[in-house]
Symmetry: C4
Subunit: 310 residues, 4 copies
Amino acid sequence: MSKKSKRGNSPGVGRRGFITAATVAGAAALAPPLAAAATPRAPDAVAKVAAPPTRVAEGTMSEVELAVRDLVIANRILAHENVVDAYGHVSIRHPLHPERYLLSWSRSPEQIEAGDIVEFTLGGEPAGGDQRPPYLERFIHGAIYAARPDVHAVVHAHSVEVLPFSISATKLRPVIHDGAFIGAEVPVWDIAEKFGHETDLLVSNMAQGRDLARRLGGNQMALMRGHGFVAAAASLYEVVRLAVYAPRNAHVLQAALLMGGKIKPLSKGEITARVEGPTLQPNTAAAQRAWAYWAQRAGVADLLPPRPTK
Amino acid sequence: MSKKSKRGNSPGVGRRGFITAATVAGAAALAPPLAAAATPRAPDAVAKVAAPPTRVAEGTMSEVELAVRDLVIANRILAHENVVDAYGHVSIRHPLHPERYLLSWSRSPEQIEAGDIVEFTLGGEPAGGDQRPPYLERFIHGAIYAARPDVHAVVHAHSVEVLPFSISATKLRPVIHDGAFIGAEVPVWDIAEKFGHETDLLVSNMAQGRDLARRLGGNQMALMRGHGFVAAAASLYEVVRLAVYAPRNAHVLQAALLMGGKIKPLSKGEITARVEGPTLQPNTAAAQRAWAYWAQRAGVADLLPPRPTK
Amino acid sequence: MSKKSKRGNSPGVGRRGFITAATVAGAAALAPPLAAAATPRAPDAVAKVAAPPTRVAEGTMSEVELAVRDLVIANRILAHENVVDAYGHVSIRHPLHPERYLLSWSRSPEQIEAGDIVEFTLGGEPAGGDQRPPYLERFIHGAIYAARPDVHAVVHAHSVEVLPFSISATKLRPVIHDGAFIGAEVPVWDIAEKFGHETDLLVSNMAQGRDLARRLGGNQMALMRGHGFVAAAASLYEVVRLAVYAPRNAHVLQAALLMGGKIKPLSKGEITARVEGPTLQPNTAAAQRAWAYWAQRAGVADLLPPRPTK
Amino acid sequence: MSKKSKRGNSPGVGRRGFITAATVAGAAALAPPLAAAATPRAPDAVAKVAAPPTRVAEGTMSEVELAVRDLVIANRILAHENVVDAYGHVSIRHPLHPERYLLSWSRSPEQIEAGDIVEFTLGGEPAGGDQRPPYLERFIHGAIYAARPDVHAVVHAHSVEVLPFSISATKLRPVIHDGAFIGAEVPVWDIAEKFGHETDLLVSNMAQGRDLARRLGGNQMALMRGHGFVAAAASLYEVVRLAVYAPRNAHVLQAALLMGGKIKPLSKGEITARVEGPTLQPNTAAAQRAWAYWAQRAGVADLLPPRPTK
């Protein structure tokens, strides 16, 4: 049975939390105006947020406001932790409309603020008519959300530690405990297989996005030959953690390989225990600790909820 | 004769100093109320510190206040020097109660302040009933303090330079003078040997902690397969120094190995001279220099005692 | 047909934009006094800028002022991204006088301000009589501008990731999509071939500069044995991008080579699609995004034009 | 003929300049009271500086004040450029008393201020009775100054890029132009050869210092097995440049070696042209540029003399 089927097909069930997408049904119950498909839309998610219809968590913020806030934090974290530079992006599935996702217009992650977040259809069109230029490769996100109802957050990046495995015969696999999140299998997608040897390597349309999503399959991560990787997870916290630790896992694996001799990778059981087990879920103290730490380093600690008191 | 037995079994004898745990007997003499086991306890060490019964050193701070202050500095140093990130932790044996240790609740080391330090029993329970979530792997600390009366400070971390040796057939050994502190032998503990191939690799209970402590034996450092390392020393300064230089030693060893040919490691006599000799003990100017430098870089120079005047 | 001839021999045609050299003809039409060769010159470009004769773009700045501003930004970016240190330099062809180029006097790129930019003849003389000491290796720039009418910006640097390929039998080639800009061929120039084994390796006169330009040929980049590289492009944005990503490409290539086995480089068609295709030209949102990001990181965001509004 | 004899035995002849030791004779002529051996001494160089007898350069500073200022800058540069950390040190021969040298007491280079500089005899005693603890390894400096009249500045450090060559059969040699300053030969000194296998690897007395100086011979740099390196040069600028670029040269050499195949090192003639030629002497614009850049990065730009105006 694949990981995907294990997780079930209901988007976000049981994953409410500080950085988790809400269930569609629950959110709709709380926010009927927003859930109504025919509601006229403001130019982008942020404009919409300006008149929040409901307050579901953390005091006075709506589900969508929380999602936007967390997405800003995720962008800043990935930039500060050197997962992305001028390029690379992170998205979140819309917490109320599973057939939409939230993603910045064409800005670098380190510079993104709430007002930069745009709502897209799964086909990659700005749902509210936003006129600012979008990322060329936004199709990656929609294609994965369409293929994977269990996925609520997607990262695309070009980390130099991961890239050697995208052009090498050596397979990337998890060898450290925090690397387990990449999953037991990390397939490599080569755009040239289906789209020939004259592309600019960018995922520039839905056909390419869908082909990439097919190669990703039910896995957490796929490498893109000579280009980078995609990571997909059930929550924003999980996809950020994966993207932060995948390069370290790649670094350790490569270093061990270069010293020669046999190496000990994680076992299937260990990978499953990390990914599926209770200790590292997004609502645990261990997860919250990392999110708070990364956010502070990235200069956005002021966006976090207050920490627990003794 | 092992290093452990050489150092003797009296905790902290002769190691008083700016970052050294006090002897139990001496401290008890100075601070009887705190040494009395039946004394009711405030929720955590810091609350207790708020009403210090005695002032033993550096003007107006109690033994416990000094320990807490030094532990905060140690956390910040390890974070700034990239030994720990969101994860990893450092503890100190309680200066008055050798059957207790001081450790933060579940926060990242870079964010830790005095108010975050909690007192734990060797079994891993918060001694004063602190309600904040603890580190999942606190059992590492108690198990080592229980097995090693000579140890007063413990670090657990996941440095990427050290990790390749935890999954490789190549042994980590000291090759640079500041690497001597890792000791002549660095055993590798594989959690799967005793606890099977389906753990999440975390040391989640005392049984696992004790098994790790057994593998550590009388050594200063043990690798944890696919996970990280533990370091144990007679004082906070020593364990921090070990944790800072172990990754550099690993880096140099690996680089030399990759160039091929025979390499020259440190001799047993050189390792002993570094670890046991007089020049690098915690009370020397050389040690104080490093502590002051690391603390300044980590942004906590204001916590340091004043420097000597000419 | 070489890339050079494909791009045509008219300097800058069709490349107007925020960081692009203007066409000579167009600029001359707008700025006749500056285009007149007999015009008396102020001591340097900046003094001249102080009395701008025309305002052609972005409000109130002249073509030359814009070029100087962008060159300051480029210097700061290359310093901040670790492409250059105390040494290394970047120039731009004069936007109105193709037989001149703009380059700082002998300062480190991180410290350069508008007042440091000097106008040089292609032979390497300060056109306005500036008395400050010039870079010893300024001849690199003039020789390339003379040989390559399609080139409007040149970088010379000593990146440690690129240098191993300058002394090794292993050829540098593009393996990642952002590395495509180095081009399919990266020739290595060894100063000793023509100038003997007793030089200080610096390009100290026009004869050496011309020899280097010949080895560069119609390519984007050439390595200089034991010394560094030159990069040449049609605009400042393009040469900065090349210089930023060439080291990362070199890093990834080397890492993949060390793991052994066959590696997959970019195909010729992929390289061409990246360099010639529409998606990554300097006037695209993707290009502007990187420039804005790099400039902000380098501390010169205040020099940028305002960003688009939704 | 060795480099040493080429440079002559008169300390500092012809090397006056912004970071150069003055000739003894000339300085003595300007500052007779300080040159008189019987003059009572203040506790350290800085106290002495407080009542400067002569003003020889850069306005109102004495030779000694200038030396102290430059030594502070050098310390900060080496710390900021990651050549030294808590440990490692740099000294300058006393500008008026060639049988003395200036060096900090036991502080980390990043923290050193003018008041920390102490005057030492070549035997390693504080000349003015300073009571602060000195560096354990100060004997390195005196032994080299005694053996090498041409040397006016010495660095001892433990750079991780250089260390692998100290324990490997692979020889460190210059392969990049800025690496030429390490010289054609870089001998390796193993303390165990003469002092046995039970030392703590530190140069703890003059006998060890002299043995190291003998191995250094007439070269610019020697590696110390499992410990670090010493660098010796005719001026502070030169020794800092050597110490900054030696690690980069080591990094490039190692990377090229790992890729396999034949590599091209610098020729003897190229090394000589770099070290002896006119273009890179301390009084050139190219040298001043680096010093100003490094000092600004290290946060001590305010200590620099003003830069040239056009």
